[in-house]
Each structure stands twice: as structure tokens, then as C-alpha cells.
């Protein structure tokens, strides 16, 4: 009986960014230019900081986009910084971002690459 083989990736990090609705497209583009492969975006609703900003909170959209990007542990610093700059996270109310180390991940990896890399 032939055992089936699956490919598991290690050294993966997850970058999650929460930004105002409508920003995700630009951020994903910036992350891709820094080497990210793709991203998952979902919608969310944020509250807390917006209310504490007082009248200026009106300039902040309460509807958010949450962007999940899986990157390699070597890329993570670069992409993290690129997103930071693109999202202007040094401005109040613009959002928050974090990095989570992941144990493993799995997705489609082209067979020829698997062959080359597993040698």
C-alpha cells in the first residue's frame, strides 16, 4: 500500500492587521510587493479607541477590515514594516497590527518545488 504524502510548511508567521474599511486593498498590494503571496480579508466592527478620541473619532470609520497574511519567518520583519508605513499606523485611530508565530501551515506547493526543496 502506498502511503499518501502531504506537504507541511514550517517557519510560518501570521501578520494580522486591523484597519478602517476600504484600506485593505492598498495594504495587501503593499504586502505583496514586499514578498507576501496573498491575504485573507474579513470585515469587522471596532469600538473603544474611536470613542476615546472624542470629536475626532468621527473621522475614523467604525467598520474595519481584518487582513491576515501568512509570511515566512525571514520575510516577516520587512512586510511588517511595509504594512506599518502603508497603513500609517503612527497616526491615532488608523488601526493595529500584530505578528503571531505559527507552528505549521499547509497549502498547495508546486510538485517541482517540493522535489527541489526536500532534497
Amino acid at each position: 500500500m502506498k502511503t499518501r504524502e502531504i506537504v507541511v510548511l514550517t517557519d510560518v508567521m501570521l501578520i494580522t492587521a486591523v484597519v478602517q474599511r476600504g484600506m485593505a486593498d492598498d495594504l495587501v498590494k503593499a504586502a505583496q510587493m514586499a514578498g507576501a503571496q496573498g491575504a485573507t480579508v474579513h470585515y469587522a466592527y471596532g469600538r473603544g479607541v474611536r470613542e476615546r478620541l472624542g470629536i475626532l473619532g468621527l473621522a475614523i470609520e467604525a467598520e474595519k477590515e481584518v487582513i491576515n497574511i501568512l509570511v515566512s519567518s525571514e520575510q516577516v520583519g520587512r512586510i511588517f514594516e511595509r504594512i506599518y508605513l502603508e497603513a500609517k499606523l503612527d497616526t491615532p485611530g488608523m488601526g493595529i497590527m500584530w505578528v503571531t508565530p505559527l507552528e505549521k501551515a499547509a497549502t498547495f506547493v508546486p510538485p517541482e518545488l517540493v522535489e527541489k526543496l526536500s532534497q
Binding site: 475614523i60 500609517k88 488608523m94
Partner: protein, 584 residues
């Protein structure tokens, strides 16, 4: 010994420097049972500026994109093709900036200040009130939103151009009866909102509703057409339908309807969002026609002419509140404040519901009122002026206009082609740029599982509007009878409706209302009136009416064509299967 440094690390060090702070030191230490109240965040000026700048620019650019191409097209056409300088160019430029700023304020105010009302009402109303009460509130809301619609102001300004001797009833409707006219349009929208809501709840089909409403409207049109005095009202009546379905009515009524349908356990149908727009543009037509008939019963043309003559003799200096800036400010307040008071009373007295964040709502309402005032000012000084000017000058291409030296500028045939081509391109460009059309296209693509592509719908609607506006202009130039154009086209639309599937009927009849936004309507309306004035037509209405029916036809036909193509493909597929002997 050589030291190895990764190039990446080196680049990293020179470009960005990360300063690490422990979150333990940043967060407040709360021990035991103590409650912690998060303090207000203190901002530096720079931070405030950085926050506000993107907020303003995004919204400004959005309106800029909608207004500027159209205005630019009109100006360039006037400068290059007609070789006429732009009169009062500074006033018009300032007016257009005012339109952009006003729309920006108004849209944001609508989103922050008025939409929460609609949502709260839609969610709580059905639970706390009987269906009859719900319908009554929906009806009143329909009237309220009509007054708040920015484009309705354009209709009011249009009245000043009509000559009382040529079209007494039209003059009376637009001047002495202007308030009643808007009220009747509002009642039409209210009735449409009621039926739309019932449709949400019971999942009625749109087709019979279209037949029930369109056929009396057409019959009444026929009656008006045959009456020599009422003839001229027809254009106004059909234009009113296009004016009503703007940026206030559609989202507010939809939010309410969807909330009610969700509470009634219906509204799962993907089509439930459609139909209200259609009804909200047919009922006002019927209403205005009925008003015209009633007007003809209570008064005579002679009386109106005599009264108008009396008024024009009496006119001394207009009161301060009838002069330009005050007039727009009052109109802006009138549009928003009653609607807000009504919504608030329903919410507080009837539902005993509180609003979250009253501060935000107050801010939104202030913005909406301010935006409405600025928009109205911009309309008077910018868009209406520009549209009227272009409309008045374009006929110089083919006929003799006093204001233009050496007119006609071109031969009759070429000049006419130029003028009608001008209208065609205006319609096509304005519609394609309308953001609502893009949204509709996406919805339609999802609904039809990609059979009706978004670009196809956008082009079909834009072509329809373009042909419609060109036809409308032709109507004014050749003084064609509007009824002779409208009646056959609507009959054709009804015929196509019989053969179309429910989805395409919904999409097609709604697509017309979607395209007539707050920029297209005033521009096209004033252009038509300027055009009519220049060629000495009785009235310049009817362009919008034509721009409403033609996209319905083009979308219905496209839908039928797609159905035919899909059916043919299926047939092909079946035949090839049979030929291969798969299906016996």
C-alpha cells in the same frame, strides 16, 4: 577573522529603526476590584491633521470624480466646438466647487446622521407596532425624503423660465402650486414605499405591479395629451419620476423595508432590494398627472394668466427671504429638519427607543443641513448656470441664436448632428460615471451567476440613457410631441416585460432610477430648459423622462438576448449529447 553580515540585516538597520516598548509598561496597572476608566486620548495638532486629511480627501475626491468630468465636458464643448467664451466663469467655477463640497458634506451627513435612524426604525418598528402603523410611518417617511432630495430643488428653479401665456397650467404648477407639486410627488413616493414594503413582506412579483401602475399612468397621459392646455404638463410629470429616486430616498426607504422584511421572516429573496425604485418613479408621475387634471377642474388658463399678470405688476422688491442666499439656506433647512424631527418623534414617542451616540447624530444632521445649503447654492450658481448656458448655446450649431455671432456655426445637418451627438455623449459619460450604476452592476452579476456581466449592464444602461437624452433633445429641437415618443416606448417596454423573466424585469425597471443622481438631474434639466429657451420651445421638459424609459428598454432587450443565448447553448449541448448517443 572575517565577520559575516546578512545584507538584509544591514539594509534593515539603515532604513527603519524599531523601538520596542513593553506593553506591560504601556497599559495601566489595575489591581484588585478597582474599576478603570479609560481616559480620553490626547492628540497633538499634527495627529489631528493626519487623521482629518485622509477623511476629507477621500470624500472630496469621490464627489470630484463625479462632477468634474461632466462640467469639463460642457466647458470644452462650448469653448472648442461652439467657440464661445464661458460667461461668468468665476461664478460657475465657485458654484461647482460648492456643489462638490455640498455633496461631500451631505453624503457624509446622510451616512452619519440619517442612516442610523433608518436602521433603528427598520429593526424595531415591526416588533413594536402593527402593520398598519408601520405602513403609515413608511408613507410619511416617503413624503419626508422627497422634500430632502437634493435634485428636487432643481425642479423648483426650472419654473422661472416657463412663459405663462404658452403653458398656463405648467406655469401654475411650477410657481403658485410648486409646494403642492412636491407634496404630490412625495405622496407618490410614500405610496410606492407602502407597496414596496408589502412586496418585501409577501414576496409579490413586480410584473403585475408594473402593469397595474403603468397602464393608468399611460391612459392619463393620453388624456392630458389630447387636452390642448394640459399638453405641456406631460413633460414635467414624467420628469418628476426621475427626480425622486435620488441618494436620500433609495437608501432610507430600502433600509426600512429590508428591516421590516427581515422582522417578518421574509426578505431572503435576492431580489427583495429591487422594485421600490421602480414604483417610486411611476407613482409620482401618476400623482402629478392627477394634480394637473384637478388643477384644470378648479381653475382656467385665463384665470392663471390674469393672476400671473397681476403678480408681475405687483412685484416690488422681493423680500429678503426670497433673495438668493437666504432662499437656499431656507430650502436646505426645510429639506432636512422636518424629516429629522419626524424620525426622532417616531423613535422617541412611538418606539421609546434611544439613539446611541446622539453626538454623532447631531454632527451628521448638521453636516447634512450644511451640505444641502451649500449644494443648493452651488446648484444655483454653478451647475444650473452652466447647464443652462450650454443648453442655450448648443443650438447655435444649427440655427440662428442672437447671443452667438455668426450663427449658425455649421450647416443645418452637421450642426444638428453635432447638437444631438453632444447630448448623446453627455448622457453616456454621465451615466457610466455614476457610482450607483457600478454597485447595481455588481449586484446583477451576482444575481445572474455571471450571465449578465457587470460591464454589459453598465454599457446597456449608459447606451439607453444616451439615446434617451439625445431623443429628448431632438424632441425639443423639432418640437416633437412627447406623448408620441413616450407612449409607444412604454408600450414596447410593457410588451418586453411580458416576455422577460422576473429577475430581468426587476433589474431593468430599477436601472433607470439608479442612474439619475444629484448631478445628472440638475445638469440635464437645466440643459434641456436652456435648449428649449434658445429654440423658443414651449417647455424644455421631457429629457429626463426619455432618459428613464430608454435604459429600461435596452436592459430588457439585453436580458432577452442573454436568455436566448443561454437557451441556445443548452439546446446545442443537448443536441451534441444526443448525437453522441449519451442521451437516448
Amino acid at each position: 577573522m572575517a565577520v559575516e553580515i546578512r545584507f538584509g540585516d544591514f539594509v534593515h538597520e539603515v532604513t527603519l529603526h524599531q523601538k520596542c516598548i513593553s506593553a506591560n509598561r504601556l497599559m495601566p496597572s489595575v489591581s484588585g476590584d478597582a474599576t478603570y476608566l479609560a481616559p480620553k486620548i490626547q492628540l497633538r495638532r499634527l495627529d489631528a491633521y493626519r487623521m482629518i486629511r485622509p477623511y476629507v480627501t477621500v470624500r472630496f475626491v469621490e464627489q470630484l470624480k463625479a462632477v468634474v468630468p461632466l462640467a469639463l465636458y460642457l466647458v470644452l464643448f462650448q469653448l472648442l466646438i461652439l467657440r464661445q467664451g464661458l460667461a461668468e466663469s468665476w461664478v460657475i467655477s465657485a458654484g461647482i466647487v460648492a456643489v462638490i463640497v455640498g455633496l461631500m458634506f451631505f453624503m457624509e451627513g446622510l451616512k452619519v446622521g440619517l442612516m442610523p435612524f433608518g436602521e433603528v426604525l427598520g429593526n424595531t418598528l415591526p416588533a413594536k407596532a402593527s402593520l398598519r402603523l408601520v405602513l403609515l410611518i413608511v408613507f410619511l417617511l416617503g413624503i419626508g425624503v422627497t422634500f430632502a432630495e437634493p435634485a428636487i430643488g432643481a425642479l423648483r428653479t426650472a419654473g422661472q423660465i416657463v412663459e405663462v401665456e404658452n403653458a398656463p397650467y405648467l406655469y401654475a404648477l411650477l410657481n403658485g402650486w410648486a409646494g403642492t407639486l412636491v407634496l404630490v410627488v412625495g405622496i407618490g413616493v410614500g405610496a410606492a414605499a407602502i407597496i414596496g414594503t408589502l412586496r418585501f413582506i409577501y414576496g409579490w412579483s413586480l410584473k403585475p405591479l408594473i402593469f397595474i401602475t403603468i397602464i393608468p399612468t399611460l391612459l392619463l397621459s393620453l388624456y392630458l395629451w389630447l387636452d390642448p392646455h394640459l399638453n405641456s404638463v406631460l413633460g414635467l410629470a414624467w420628469d418628476c419620476g426621475a427626480v425622486t429616486t435620488g441618494p436620500v430616498t433609495v437608501p432610507l426607504v430600502l433600509a426600512l423595508g429590508i428591516g421590516i422584511a427581515a422582522a417578518a421572516g421574509q426578505g431572503q429573496s435576492s431580489l427583495s432590494g429591487f422594485g421600490i425604485v421602480t414604483l417610486a418613479s411611476i407613482f409620482p408621475i401618476l400623482g402629478v398627472e392627477l394634480l394637473a387634471v384637478w388643477l384644470s377642474l378648479v381653475t382656467t388658463p385665463e384665470a392663471i394668466i390674469a393672476e400671473a399678470a397681476g403678480v408681475s405688476q405687483l412685484t416690488t422688491l422681493p423680500m429678503w427671504y426670497e433673495l438668493s442666499p437666504a432662499l437656499e439656506i431656507i430650502a436646505g433647512l426645510q429639506a432636512i429638519v422636518p424629516l429629522v424631527i419626524f424620525l426622532y418623534l417616531v423613535l422617541r414617542v412611538l418606539l421609546k427607543e434611544r439613539l446611541h451616540n446622539p453626538g454623532y447624530i447631531a454632527y451628521g444632521i448638521t453636516l447634512a443641513v450644511l451640505g444641502m445649503i451649500i449644494f443648493n447654492l452651488g446648484l444655483t450658481y454653478g451647475l444650473a448656470k452652466l447647464g443652462g448656458q450650454s443648453g442655450g448655446l448648443v443650438p447655435a450649431a444649427f440655427t440662428n441664436i442672437d447671443a452667438v455671432m455668426g450663427s449658425p456655426l455649421y450647416g443645418t445637418f452637421f450642426g444638428l448632428t453635432l447638437a444631438i451627438g453632444f447630448a448623446w455623449i453627455l448622457g453616456f459619460g454621465a451615466t457610466l460615471a455614476e457610482p450607483a450604476l457600478n454597485a447595481l452592476g455588481l449586484t446583477v452579476e451576482n444575481l445572474t451567476n455571471g450571465a449578465f456581466r457587470r460591464s454589459l449592464l453598465m454599457i446597456a444602461v449608459s447606451l439607453g440613457v444616451a439615446v434617451g437624452i439625445a431623443l429628448g433633445v431632438a424632441k425639443i429641437v423639432f418640437t416633437l410631441d412627447l406623448a408620441l415618443l413616450l407612449l409607444p416606448l412604454y408600450l414596447l417596454a410593457l410588451l418586453l416585460t411580458i416576455f422577460s423573466s422576473e429577475e430581468f424585469v426587476n433589474i431593468a425597471w430599477d436601472s433607470a432610477g439608479v442612474t439619475t443622481g444629484p448631478i445628472t438631474v440638475p445638469l440635464v434639466l437645466s440643459m434641456g430648459l436652456g435648449f428649449g429657451h434658445a429654440v423658443a420651445a414651449v417647455e424644455g421638459f421631457g429629457v429626463l423622462a426619455m432618459a428613464s424609459i430608454c435604459p429600461i428598454l435596452s436592459v430588457l432587450m439585453t436580458g432577452l438576448w442573454i436568455n436566448w443565448k443561454v437557451a441556445r447553448k443548452h439546446r446545442h449541448y443537448d443536441e451534441s449529447l444526443q448525437a453522441e448517443g449519451v442521451v437516448s
